[in-house]
Assembly symmetry: D2
């Protein structure tokens, strides 16, 4: 098994106008496939922060409170990635009756993935594809072939149905449509945010996972970055659970680099 | 503390046309406020079924597989309810920074509760209400005063935004709008399905909970049933997590009584 | 030129509960391609009615007022159709700058044809098709290949964008999507209601027209009826302008046959 | 009767990238209430243009074709306004049965005014208001009291239903909601674009008209400009019919002043 060591990080600069509570989800996840060698989280001013674990997947978060003024955050990590090199040929779908309990909620529709509205479309387009890994790849291929990646073509309220109409979006939109189509076919699917190697321009990336065989497999319908160089941050139902920064109060993000 | 003993139950009759996997969420929850004295779940034909626990709140479910033919389900339970008689005056909202980790996901928008789209509306309408229990009650009062309860006026894809346009819906729609408005104000809120005493016509009921003070409080914007006679089944983000029956395959629900 | 003589008609039975104003758009249009040999419009009770001409295309309508009680309407017409047998090969699109003034409004989006939201999709899918009659045929072929005709799968608020999501609809939905895609490509398009020969089950039919060369051409993306046996009733922006019956008051349509 | 003489105008600067067809709707309308004393339309370069009259209301437009390069348009007019000083007390609604034929299409829903979806809401909120001019004023008052005017809070696809959710918009959104609510109550309503005296910042303005008594009355739910100082440009079903500039091709609007 090949192992890669990757350095990731991000810098955020805010101007806080009113007292503000922040929840940052930008720390690399601790999983069996990625091992954090070292990690630092620096704030200027040097505010106290708490670590948290969010949702069913216990995604890591940092919570803090900031008073008005400038706020800078610098996160760095060195991560060992054990890329997933399992053979995907022949990976099957799991019948609903056999799905593990923990996986069942990922068949339900969510804010940005209205699987219920896409049931007929999904069955029509992918109902006859060979089931399993190949079917999810067929979904990704269709998304890649029918959507244009276009910065600023979507916003925070854009859902899978919206993107199917407008046929353009960014990585989170591609992932949402993939998730919605999988769920519409009763394949559990969820959203994953992370750092992607060599992404141009550098930014947080959004992918999706489908539950096949007896585990989750990662898919990137944008084909913009190698999945093997992807460092996971957050896992959730859709991007509503994986925002890199949630803030209650008034603050402006002045600068961001990943 | 007064305790009430309540008998609940439901009967479902299906005609199964193709092999079908079912997930039923209709068993009374086991909580500190409701104690199940006795319970029975009968199937005709006498199929095996598994118990499951779903989602972050570990809601109870029954899973089973049925071959084509008739299927009947009879659930009965006798439940001791410890009604919540705490004083609600002065119950405060919890600042985002102080919310427990387990509660944070309930601020995020979900399939039927597009809190993100309602942010400006919620702030405009309820931003100046006295915070706390009183503010959630103000939301319930507004919903009760501005929506009509109308059977069959909504369907499985109707969301909080839809119901705000059409101004009519059923219990799940009233609950979704309540949840969406709470979340838009940064008050965690979630969906609860259950059995309601004296509901006319008898049916499963949908309510919502808001996190205030240091626990969840139950609200019913329909005012159709006493909260103290409500037996909880399922707790989730919205009705997408709390369907009384999910089925994969082809079957027709011929009859239902609650 | 072959001419066909066709008998059409419809019978409507209402129960009027409160005083009701009706606008019926079910009379065959008088155009150069269809000549009305004879026509009758009978009402029981024998109420007075007025003829009207609606909108930019002066579609024929009947207006009447009914008091509570039963109401029956019987319309019959014998129509000579001069089927359009012009050659369609080589029919070109008209550049926006050359479009006649009277045609310009049919490029604008309308209630059920959100051409503005479909601009990117239309350009992506049909931007490289050979322009002209062939391009509109390509749109019809795509609609026919990607939508299922399904009775009761849509309702009065279903738009072209909705139908693109749900991938099923009835004739009016097929027409709306055709219109929206044409307009998104700057091809003027409009809705036409009428009687279709041999439609199964018999019902009013909805088609669309696109402006090409120097006139309007009729298209039916459902392929359910021969265009040459179609008797036009109403011409408008979309089905919002072409309802066979509009009523203000309370009445129930008990029976309808076409 | 007081008469006011007003000078209006606008300057548009484009950079045309590909050959472009333009339709400009920015010339003052000729009506019985506004008399154009003098008018000029200058283009740099000095391109030929055609005058056109659009839609049922024959709104004036200019059509022209521009090759790549800079394009400047300067429109000026001196207009005598005969302000409408009729008494509005006691102005009644017209029953559907009595509405003139030419007015009927303005009861139908349109792209940005989904009256069909707002029927229940409109009846609930305004069904008990005193009918007539007072009811339309009640609609305007409600809109003014429940929506915030906020530049850039909406876009070209924002409809009346969207604005009812987001509770903020610009003048066209206020007008669309007014139109949709009127139509939902069977009061004919339409969109009017124009120049408004003393509007801050200066821009084109959007209002709406309702058909009452035996003519159209102008309403401005934004209350941003005096109706008596409003110079009408275009009249249509909604803003889809009244864009100040429609262009087919690629051009960028660099500067605009009104």
């Amino acid at each position: 098994m090949t192992m890669a060591t990757i350095n990731i990080g991000c810098d955020l600069t805010y101007h806080v106008t009113s007292p503000c509570s922040f929840l940052f989800c930008l720390a690399a996840a601790r999983t069996t496939q990625q091992h954090i060698l070292q990690e630092s989280m620096c704030l200027h001013p040097n505010l106290p922060f708490q670590s948290t674990h969010l949702g069913m997947e216990k995604s890591r978060g940092y919570r803090l409170h900031a008073d008005p003024g400038p706020l800078q955050l610098h996160y760095r990590a060195q991560v060992d990635l054990m890329p997933d090199q399992s053979v995907t040929a022949g990976i099957v779908e799991v019948e609903y009756a056999q799905l593990p309990d923990a996986v069942l909620p990922y068949v339900n529709p969510s804010r940005y993935c209205e699987a219920d509205r896409l049931a007929h479309f999904a069955l029509r387009m992918f109902g006859h594809s060979p089931p399993g890994f190949a079917r999810v790849m067929a979904i990704c291929d269709w998304i890649h072939g029918n959507l244009d990646y276009q910065a600023n073509s979507s916003n925070v309220s854009t859902s899978a149905c919206d993107v199917l109409i407008q046929r353009q979006g960014v990585c989170r939109d591609f992932a949402h449509l993939g998730i919605a189509l999988c769920r519409a076919l009763c394949i559990p699917a969820r959203y994953v945010s992370g750092y992607a190697l060599n992404l141009q321009p550098p930014d947080f990336h959004g992918l999706f996972e489908a539950y096949l065989g007896e585990r989750w497999y990662l898919f990137d319908a944008t084909r913009m970055a190698a999945i093997n160089g992807f460092v996971r941050i957050c896992t959730g139902r859709d991007a509503a659970d994986a925002s890199f920064a949630t803030l209650i109060g008034i603050a402006e993000l002045l600068q961001m680099s990943v």
